[in-house]
């Protein structure tokens, strides 16, 4: 005979099957609670585990030794030999500019911090590099693209090549987050990393030595054990590291000292050399001076003797003689010439007289001839004595007489002529003698002239020589002067050069004297921004998981408690029967405990399975937007999972046991009787007659019922309140996170562009920039300001990297940055006696108005500043003060270094146009569009939002299940009542509304409490999930309350609709037949 199963167990099993809906809802509650609790709680460990595996896979360093003096090959060997160091590897690092951004160039790691190749391959030969995808995307590069690395002037030779070919993209465990650190070149912030083979670096020292430690392989990252271990190790290694630095310092010091000594020697040699050379030059100068002086003396002597003058004088007298001779000669000549002319005229007149005479003689002769002829002719026949003859001969004789007289007259003339001829001849002779004398004189004169001329010439030559000597001397003087000047300048040059060299030597000596002792930093993973940030974000998730799911859990537990209690009381009489039959309490309780146990265990396991895989997956992968890590790897977390399941099982089962126990405690006889209904009571409302009398009968019943069933009242109210609170919180979280973007960038810091100005920008440049921005037509408002990064602290804490803004023109600044109180919204004005700080900064430093904040100024000095007011702000921290106040604390007013611009249309296009114009202007060093920040931040906030969405979904699911459960209980509990109503002739709708009116009232009461609870829960929770650089919104938007209300109502409606069918199914006969 096969052993039959115990029938009490059969009953228990059948109970589960029969009341499937209740069991299922109980199971679902457990599932939700566990999924949420375990899932959220597993998230942080899973995130950390994922990171841990990745660290192990890439062999992330445990400790990094970084020295301000660099580390040598010997140092590396020493570190390798240090006990407890498993591996050590040197890292070379150099910041370079590529395109317009700064990149950190690292030597390719070998064992430690291995790169995770995401595309392509690692460099294999010279001229190859790998970088990160981000940089490739930025410039649209692909594998095979060339990249130019410019290390800047100071380190120009630190890399072998200038151009490298990208052969792959990698992830580095050293760079989990987007932060790449800061640099002293370029814009100051590093955009990406690049890895090159180590021998591409020409430097002979390492920037850092990374090491892994013995014993950390077995430890999980982010655990206390790991932190303690590395902390201890680090403390132990400190003195060793200091020793290395001391050595390095000594060797550097000695090198420097040697170099200084060499330099000094060189200096001395150089100085001697230059001195001797100068002395030579000086000697030469002095010689030439002497020579010149001698020359001058000779010259001056010559000038003083004045032989030339004398010669000239003699010459002059000779010339005077000559001149007078010449004059005599010339007068002689002219006398001669006049004599000659006289002679000539005498001659001429003689000749004329002669010819006249000759002619007169001739004519006389002719006339005589003619008269003789005519007389002959006339006398020819006539005797010479004849009177006719005589008569004829008379004229002739007269004429002849006349002619003879004439002829006689001619004789003196002839004599005169002859005398003049003699005189003439005499004159001629005289003249000729004079001529000869003249000629002789002329000859004498000419020779004297020649003599004079030659004397002149000689004198001229002498003068010329003298002049030449003078010129030579003058030239020599000039040369000497030049030489002297040259000497002076070269002496001066040599002096400056030497004094410079001396100064340099002195400086070098000074430097050597105060040489940096060298500092060695031992940095663990807790100094790596990515590692720490990731850990903190994981912790933030764990903060979120710490309390939030517990509230969730409590609501679920409350709901299942109601369900279980209800079930037990429903089975009251059956318990009585079993008791009557003789079953013990325990045997009877098994059914209920088993029921609760099976439902909660099944739900718990199911919930754990779904929750622990889905929630970490969604959240952790959402964080991958910010961190470069592989996809989430689940860690076995038996404790968390088992604890969550156990909590669910226990809370449900213990509830069942307790409910059961109180029933079982009663005697079977009591149990068999229907529980005495609670005595009807008048409710408070009845006493308020004006209200009460106005209620319809059915409403009065509702009111009575509400207050009658106290337990159910509270269960429902708390259940619904809890769910509403969760919904409000969830929506509120979403508001808080996303509001800050609009609040910050659309209401508080409304500038769209921040342009950086160069140091020492001139007034003319700023005026030009101003003209440009005013004239561009794109800019709405512009404001120059001074901005610096400041580390702030108070006695309660410290916050690094706050932005210090120095405001000149507060009105103008106010157009771009709105300072106001978050509560009330009053404007905050800057005072002349302190600073205004932002709210989150105040809360982190626990400062209030009137307290003092310590800030660092750009010269690293620390100043205590009174806080005059606190202003609303969400992202980053700011300290605002007036220019006058800044000047009073810093000693001088700062020069503007940023230009804040509010664009008319903040579009990419406009911004690009403006950027091109501004960057082409002198004085502008950078241009940043705020929208880029905003997008980046949005990404990080989106990650948190995934968690929030999970919460919303879970809260909604819970709200639904809770309401479903409560309504279901309400109906089953009041089956008989409903049946009676039906018997009385109520329609289905009326019957249902009898129940639902209560539900609605309870929902409203619960909701109101829930809204307030949600408000409180949200206010508390928001601070736990907040990230340090941001303040999440503190308020829940009205719309979120509306959403929470609507969702609660929708669930109520849906649940009511489902329940309506249950109400319809209530069989009045069946329900009234038996006492249950």
């Amino acid at each position: 005979m096969t052993k039959k199963p115990l029938r009490i167990h059969t009953d228990a099993r059948r109970e589960i099957r029969r009341s499937g809906r209740r069991w299922f809802s109980l199971m679902l509650l457990s599932a939700l609670a566990v999924a949420f609790l375990a899932g959220l709680r597993c998230t942080a460990p899973d995130m950390k585990h994922t990171a841990d595996l990745y660290y192990k896979e890439q062999n992330l360093m445990d400790l990094r030794m970084q020295s301000t003096l660099g580390l040598t090959q010997d140092d590396l060997a020493a570190v390798r030999g240090y006990s407890g160091v498993r591996q050590a590897e040197g890292v070379k690092q150099l910041d370079c500019i590529t395109e317009s951004v700064t990149v950190s160039v690292f030597s390719l790691p070998d064992q430690i911090d291995r790169l995770d190749v995401t595309g392509g391959r690692l460099p294999e030969k010279d001229g190859e590099c790998v970088t990160e995808q981000k940089l490739m995307d930025r410039y649209g590069w692909t594998i095979g693209s060339q990249i130019t690395l410019d290390p800047g002037e100071d380190n120009a030779d630190d890399l072998k090549e200038k151009k490298y070919t990208i052969v792959g993209t990698v992830r580095s465990p050293l760079f989990l987050s987007a932060a790449r650190g800061s640099s002293t070149i370029g814009t100051g912030s590093v955009t990406a990393f690049v890895f090159l083979p180590e021998d591409e670096f020409t430097t002979d020292y390492y920037t850092a030595v990374d090491m892994t430690l013995d014993g950390t392989q077995g430890m999980e990252a982010y655990t206390g054990a790991y932190d303690d271990f590395t902390e201890n190790f680090r403390d132990g290694m400190k003195s060793f590291a200091d020793g290395l630095v001391q050595q390095r310092h000594d060797s550097l010091y000695n090198d420097a000292a040697q170099k200084l000594a060499d330099a000094r020697k060189e200096y001395e040699d150089g100085k001697a050399d230059s001195d001797s050379r100068l002395a030579d030059a000086k000697q030469k100068l002095e010689d030439s001076r002497k020579e010149l002086d001698d020359g001058w003396k000779a010259y001056n002597d010559a000038v003083a003797k004045d032989e030339i003058g004398k010669g000239r004088k003699k010459l002059a007298s000779s010339r005077a003689e000559y001149e007078s001779g010449l004059k005599q000669y010339e007068s002689g000549l002219s006398t001669y010439k006049s004599g000659l002319a006289q002679y000539s005229s005498g001659l001429t007149s003689y000749n004329d007289g002669l010819s006249q005479y000759n002619a007169a003689a001739a004519s006389l002769q002719a006339q005589e001839a003619a008269l003789g002829a005519a007389f002959e002719a006339a006398v020819q026949g006539l005797d010479s004595t004849s009177a006719a003859y005589s008569a004829a001969a008379a004229p002739y004789t007269q004429q002849k007489e006349m002619l003879d007289v004439a002829e006689e007259q001619l004789v003196p003339q002839k004599e005169k002529l002859d005398a003049s001829k003699a005189t003439l001849d005499q004159t001629k002779a005289q003249l000729n003698a004079a001529k000869a004398k003249l000629a002789k004189t002329k000859q004498q004169l000419d020779s004297a002239k020649a003599e004079l001329e030659s004397g002149e010439k000689k004198l001229d030559a002498a003068q010329k020589e003298l002049d030449e000597n003078k010129q030579k001397l003058t030239d020599g003087e000039q040369d000497y002067k030049d030489g002297l000047q040259k000497y002076e300048t070269s002496k001066q040059d040599a002096d400056t050069k030497l004094s410079d060299a001396q100064k340099k030597l002195d400086d070098a000596q000074d430097e050597l004297d105060v040489m940096d002792e060298g500092k060695c930093y031992l940095l663990g993973r807790d100094s790596n921004a990515g590692c720490v940030g990731y850990g903190q974000d994981a912790d933030r998730m764990s903060n979120l998981a710490r309390v939030f799911p517990i509230i969730f859990f409590l609501v679920a537990a409350l709901s299942s408690l109601t369900a279980v209690t209800r079930m037990v009381s429903e089975n009251r009489s059956e318990i009585g029967v079993l008791k009557a039959i003789g079953y013990g309490k325990r045997q009877i309780a098994v059914k209920y405990i088993g029921y609760a146990f099976s439902a909660s265990l099944t739900g718990g396991i199911l919930g754990a399975a779904v929750g622990c895989s889905l929630i970490p997956y969604v959240i952790a992968n959402a964080w991958l937007i910010m961190y470069s890590l592989p996809s989430v790897v689940y860690e076995e977390q038996p404790f968390t999972v088992i604890a969550a399941i156990a909590a669910a099982v226990l809370s449900t089962t213990v509830t069942a046991a307790v409910a059961c126990w109180s029933e079982l405690h009663e005697t079977p006889a009591e149990l068999m009787r229907p529980r005495a209904p609670e005595p009807g009571k008048r409710v408070l409302l009845e006493r308020i007659t004006p209200v009460w009398s106005r209620l319809t009968f059915i409403r009065k019943v509702t009111v009575r019922n509400l207050f009658h069933y106290r337990q159910r009242f509270w269960m429902t109210v708390i259940g619904i309140a809890g769910c509403t609170a969760l919904l409000v919180t969830a929506f509120g979280l979403h508001d808080s996170i996303f509001d800050i973007m609009t609040l910050q960038y659309d209401e508080i810091t409304t500038y769209d562009v921040m342009a950086g100005l160069k140091d020492n920008v001139t007034a003319a440049e700023t005026a030009k920039i101003r003209d440009l921005t005013d004239g561009s037509g794109l800019v709405e408002n512009a404001c120059f300001s001074y901005e610096a990064v400041s580390d702030t602290s108070s006695d309660k804490g410290a916050v690094d990297g706050a932005y210090l803004f120095v405001v000149d023109d507060e009105d103008n600044f106010g157009k771009i940055v709105s300072l106001r109180h978050r509560v009330g919204g009053q404007k905050v004005t800057l005072q002349e006696n302190g600073a205004v700080i932002t709210e989150k900064l105040a809360s982190l430093l626990r400062l209030k108005k009137g307290d003092s904040i310590t800030i660092t100024l750009p010269d690293d000095s620390r100043v205590q500043v009174p806080v005059t007011d606190i202003t609303e702000n969400y992202i980053y921290h700011y300290v605002y003060m007036t220019k006058a106040y800044y000047a009073s604390i810093a000693g001088e007013a700062p020069a503007d270094n940023v230009l804040l611009l509010q664009l008319k249309n903040d579009t990419q296009e406009d911004s690009d146009t403006l950027s091109r114009q501004l960057m082409a202007t002198d004085g502008v060093s950078s241009y940043t569009r705020v929208d880029e920040y905003r997008q980046r931040l949005q990404g990080s906030l989106n990650s948190i939002n995934y968690a929030v969405i999970i919460i919303i979904v879970a809260a909604a699911a819970l709200a639904f299940v809770v309401q479903f459960n409560l309504t279901n209980i309400n109906i089953t509990e009041r089956r008989r009542e409903l049946a009676t109503l039906k018997v009385l002739g109520f329609q289905n709708g009326e019957t249902a509304s009898y129940i639902f009116r209560e539900t609605v009232v309870l929902t409203i009461i619960g909701m109101v409490i829930g809204l307030y609870g949600g408000y409180l829960l949200h206010a508390w929770l928001i601070t736990t999930v907040e990230i340090n650089i941001a303040m999440f919104g503190r308020s829940v938007k009205p719309l979120s309350y509306v959403f929470a209300i609507l969702m609660t109502f929708v669930f109520t409606a849906v649940v009511s609709l489902i329940s309506y069918f249950s109400v319809r199914k209530v069989d009045m006969v069946e329900s009234l037949k038996t006492v249950e």
């Binding site: 029938r7 059969t10 009953d11 009557a580 003789g582």
Partner: protein, 236 residues
């Protein structure tokens, strides 16, 4: 009291406290029932019959007085002992049957039989009450009489010393009620089991060996029938 009295009630009182009001359901009742007797406790509504039965069955405790069943002092038992007492010594039949709805007729009987030291075979007992064919039916599929017969079978299967029936016919029609009473009377006779039936129907008195008239929490009168009448001969 007679030395072979199986059940002895001595001056038993039961006071229920309902808030400020105390209701004396039993007010010092005394009676005895001999072993193997078929006893009827009869009286008007509210006289305390059911209270007597509940206390006798270990389902309730008296406020004062003592109760002996087969020489065991039931009034002195703690709840644990009472459970053992109910388990091994008592079979109970209720007015509204009180079957476990999730279990079939047979399983309901087995449910009771499984916890006893010397149970009767559930199937056999069901056969005896005439329900072989219905043994796989759930209570909801059985008529009232059938359900009451299952309830009786459940009580019988435990093979108790004492069978207590609270208005077993109260929810049944005349004919069915008669069948049930016959079943009880026959069982008593055949198995020498002490059976106590609580009823308000005085017409049933002749069928009992002993009739205890209860009124206002007291045994007003105890009758003994030397010759009880079979149920079939009684009309009401």
């Amino acid at each position: 009291m007679s030395e072979h009295s199986f059940i002895t009630f001595e001056n038993v009182s039961r006071v229920y406290r309902m808030g400020e009001v105390s209701i004396r359901a039993l007010d010092g009742i005394s009676f005895t029932v001999g072993k193997g007797e078929f006893a009827i406790i009869v009286g008007p509504s509210g006289a305390g019959k059911t209270t007597v039965l509940n206390i006798l069955g270990g389902m309730d405790q008296c406020t004062s007085g003592s109760i002996f069943v087969d020489e065991a002092d039931v009034s002195a038992m703690n709840t644990k002992q009472l459970t053992v007492y109910r388990r091994y010594d008592i079979g109970f039949v209720f007015q509204f049957y009180n079957l476990v709805q999730n279990l079939t007729a047979l399983e309901n009987v087995e449910l009771a039989a499984q916890i006893c030291r010397d149970p009767l075979d559930a199937g056999t007992v069901l056969g005896e009450v005439g329900l072989q064919e219905r043994c796989d039916n759930f209570p909801a599929q059985l008529s009232g009489g059938e359900q009451q017969r299952v309830a009786i079978a459940r009580a019988l299967a435990k093979n108790p010393k004492l069978m207590l029936c609270d208005e077993p016919t109260g929810a049944l029609d005349y004919a069915t009620g008669k069948q049930i009473l016959k079943l009880l009377q026959d069982t008593c006779r055949k198995s020498d089991m002490t059976v106590i039936v609580v009823t308000h129907n005085t017409a049933l008195c002749p069928m009992a060996d002993r009739v205890i008239h209860v009124k206002n929490g007291l045994a007003e009168r105890i009758e003994q029938n030397a010759h009880p009448v079979p149920v079939s001969e009684i009309e009401w």
